[in-house]
Amino acid sequence: MSLVGGPPDTGLILGPDPRGPRRARDRENRQLAVRSTLIAIVSSIVFFGLLGWIVANSPGWPAFQRAFLDPELFAKTIPRLAEAFWVNVQLFLLAEVFILAFGLLLAVMRSLPGPVLFPLRAMATVYVDGFRALPGILVIYMLGLGIPRLGLPGVPKDEFFWAIVTLTLLYSAYVSEVYRAGIDSVHPSQEAAARSLGLSRAQSLRYVVLPQAVRRVIPPLLNDFIGLQKDTVLVSFIGIVEIFRTAQIISAATFNYTPYVAVAVVFLVVTIPLARLVDWLISRDRRRAAAGRAA
């Protein structure tokens, strides 16, 4: 029996494996692996089958199906939603650029030494604490609806502008903490080595500490990027017609919730590959670290 390919196994018929005990062990391990996979498949079919059967036999299932899972409406909405999603894409790509830059600036400000620079450190700390404490939706309301109303000359009233500003302000606070963890994870002996060669503090940071810090925090940065993608729907509340607002409009016109399910599908399709990438990067880093220790 050979489920995983490889040369036909004659060892069982001809007695002791002529290729030695090592090969016999390999074969045993392969068979064990195949068995675990089969068990996992069977148990998944049973579990999800049962779950599906329970849901499909619930008393409200037909009504639920009509309200949330209308295939015709789904097919009709997807193109409009995809078009509206382009607004979200512009929002999170543009905001991410500012977030990465501003977050780094905040992190560096917080790591500045000396009493003279205390005001800068304090400012950055208050900022980070404040924006992490506030619910995002509040900030979006206050900035997006409040500041344009001040009518200050030269201050743009464009909602898209304020959407970018609020997302940047909110997420920079989180991202700066990620950067700071990265900076703290670089051993002080690295800076000592850089300074001992005559590099200034700024040069040590720029050429020695930050390159190592940023490399280490790429997976958590990507995690925050996934969060940002999802939170772009929040700016629909200050009047930007993006994917969620579009779904609301269609839903209100058709008295059906299927457009929301369609929005969920769009986000799943975009976000899951990125989440997989993050996992892959983390496990690759772990393998590299292990290899580094072994060397």
Binding site: S196, L199, Q212
Partner: protein
């Protein structure tokens, strides 16, 4: 020798970490081209002394002069001072995200503002001299401990320091890799490099040092040529320390 100021003068140096007084009045003069070895038990203050000389640790009292210039004065530019003093650490402290060549040429390029081609040319020449030319494109984690430490020495030399400090540079190495690193130091000593070396390798200290200083509890208890200190030490504590080393088979 000449009437130039000594390469290094340390006067009345005190240094505490919190309540722990690590250095309790160090006086030390090192002449140009002299090789001074610091010996003593762990915690006797050897590493701290070197880190103070490199201005990596602020000092509590006393002063340090390099070629007559007081480097512990208030308004001194520490980056300019550090260019003249190289230090090699026990744990190598190479930059893991850079190739060996970049490790060596970074400071000449960024601190001395040398053009890249020139800085890299000199770095390659130095690497060649110490048998690392074929490793120039490798990252530090691809090198053996001995190769890493030699690369760290080359990195310090690339700044052409007047004074080189070596902080137990063979302590983190497997025994069979110690020789290749010590050979490099021997070559530097033969070339006239002024060095202060903290070490546990007594045989090496005997071979290379013009003078050996025995540190005990933050003071230089006894100093003199290797023939005197290692063979007929005056102080009882020095005798006991050397006895322990001899018993451990390291002399």
């Amino acid at each position: 020798m000449t009437d130039r100021a000594p390469a290094l003068i340390v006067e009345g140096l005190h240094k505490s970490f919190g309540k722990l007084e690590v250095l309790r009045g160090i006086d030390l003069t090192v002449d140009e081209h002299e090789v001074v070895c610091l010996i003593g038990a762990s915690g006797s203050g050897k590493s701290t002394l070197l880190r103070c000389i490199n201005l990596l640790e602020p000092i509590d009292a006393g002063r340090i002069l390099v070629e007559g210039e007081e480097i512990t004065a208030r308004k001194v530019d520490v980056d300019r001072i550090r260019r003249r003093i190289g230090i090699v650490f026990q744990a190598f402290n190479l930059f893991p995200h850079m190739s060996v060549l970049d490790n060596v040429s970074l400071a000449p390029r960024k601190v001395l503002k040398r053009p890249r081609a020139e800085a890299e040319g000199e770095a390659v020449a130095l690497l060649e001299r110490f048998g690392l030319a074929d490793k120039r494109a490798e990252y530090p984690d691809r090198l053996s401990g001995g190769q890493q430490q030699r690369a760290a020495i080359v990195r310090a030399l690339a700044m052409q320091p007047d004074l080189l400090l070596l902080d137990e540079i063979t302590s983190a190495l497997d025994p069979e890799l110690v020789a290749e690193v010590l050979d490099v130091i021997r070559e530097l000593a033969a070339g006239g490099m002024t060095m202060v070396i903290a070490t546990h390798e007594m045989g090496f200290a005997r071979d290379i040092a013009n003078r050996i200083c025995f540190l005990d509890a933050g003071r230089i208890l006894e100093q003199g040529p290797p023939g005197t200190i290692l063979v007929a030490p005056r102080e009882e504590r020095t005798q006991r320390f050397l006895q322990r080393i001899t018993d451990a088979g390291r002399l």
